[in-house]
């Protein structure tokens, strides 16, 4: 596949900017707090390069992943640092769940949070590309970035979307990544081309 042009990359960033905006709005509803988000930075990288980027922090991550198919296909991953993910669950459930029950349902809560946030993002992408995506059930993983990315196949390219989601008095950092095979990259490029020509 030829590299994405500057215009295609710009379109991709804008599509994600709008789509992740929906996700941020959903996160705000879930936690009951205002959510700020940074400008998304979009890169297409090898999984090795993503591992290098994350290796600086050495933090364990919680990842909720969903296989998706549509005008491009792959695996979407929402990642939080492990400490951030627990914070999100506590905010979401608040006083609705007794403390002793919280750890028991933590994994289920995280899967549901990922499901809701990723689907909000896909709805935005689908609207922009005038397409629809079907998503599998969410899967939850915890580990370092190498473990998480290699679960999707080490030879895949990663459409890596770096975005910082901030809750009012907390500092949560979330990342979105889309794992794609080379065939999918071409499909993505075609979708972007159609999107740009329809403007």
């Amino acid at each position: 596949m030829k590299d994405l042009t500057a215009l295609e990359l710009d379109a991709l960033a804008e599509i994600f900017n709008i789509s992740v905006g929906r996700s941020a709005s959903v996160l705000s509803e879930l936690t009951g707090e205002a959510v700020t988000m940074s400008v998304p930075m979009v890169h297409i990288l090898s999984s090795e390069r993503v591992v290098e980027l994350f290796a600086i922090s050495h933090e364990r991550l919680t990842c909720i992943s969903q296989q998706f198919s549509g005008s491009f296909s792959g695996a979407a991953m929402l990642m939080f640092t492990e400490s951030s993910s627990l914070e999100v669950v506590r905010l979401m459930l608040g006083s609705q769940v007794p403390l002793e029950q919280l750890s028991e349902i933590e994994q289920d809560a995280l899967s549901e949070i990922g499901n809701i946030i990723l689907n909000a993002c896909f709805a935005g992408i689908a609207d922009m590309l005038r397409d629809s995506f079907s998503c599998e059930l969410p899967e939850l993983m915890t580990g370092d970035i190498e473990h998480i990315l290699h679960s999707g196949g080490s030879e895949q390219k990663v459409l890596f979307l770096q975005i910082k989601l901030g809750l009012e008095q907390r500092n949560l950092e979330g990342y979105l990544a889309f794992l794609m095979g080379s065939e999918t990259e071409s499909m993505l490029q075609q979708s972007l081309s159609n999107f740009l020509s329809g403007m």
Binding site: L93, D108, I116, L118, F122, A126, C135, L137
Partner: protein, 128 residues
């Protein structure tokens, strides 16, 4: 008068949050739960609930398939899809099936809308 709502979701957390929100809003609702579409079909036939609030993406059988089976069997039941899949295609499918569409996350406002759907269809007072 006691009414029954069947909450169908593979996420235990979502079932818990919706159950609590409905119980807080109106204790006259008896709440029963199913974890997937297949269970929903079985419980729907057994209990004939007044209202079914159904997730879409679930293992074993998805929510749309379950509604397709249940609707003809439960003509007096109100149905609402409650899903994270807020794409236009999903909303269109709900419309084709003639059921209401609610977007996750589960909040007290969403629970109120679900109950309002039942009221609209049975008392003509929908205001959500």
């Amino acid at each position: 008068m006691l009414r029954t709502v069947l909450i169908v979701d593979d996420s235990r957390v979502s079932r818990m949050m919706l159950s609590k929100a409905i119980a807080d809003l109106d204790p006259d609702w008896q709440i029963i739960e199913a974890e997937n579409g297949q269970q929903a079909v079985e419980m729907g036939c057994e209990f004939a609930p007044n209202l079914v609030v159904m997730d879409v993406n679930m293992p074993v059988m998805d929510g749309f398939e379950a509604v397709e089976i249940l609707r003809p069997k439960l003509p007096n039941t109100s149905f609402a899809m409650l899903t994270a899949n807020v794409q236009a295609s999903s909303q269109q499918r709900a419309e084709e099936l003639g059921v209401h569409f609610l977007a996750k996350p589960v909040t007290p406002a969403v629970a109120e809308k679900a109950l309002a759907i039942w009221r609209q269809e049975h008392e003509g007072s929908y205001s959500a």
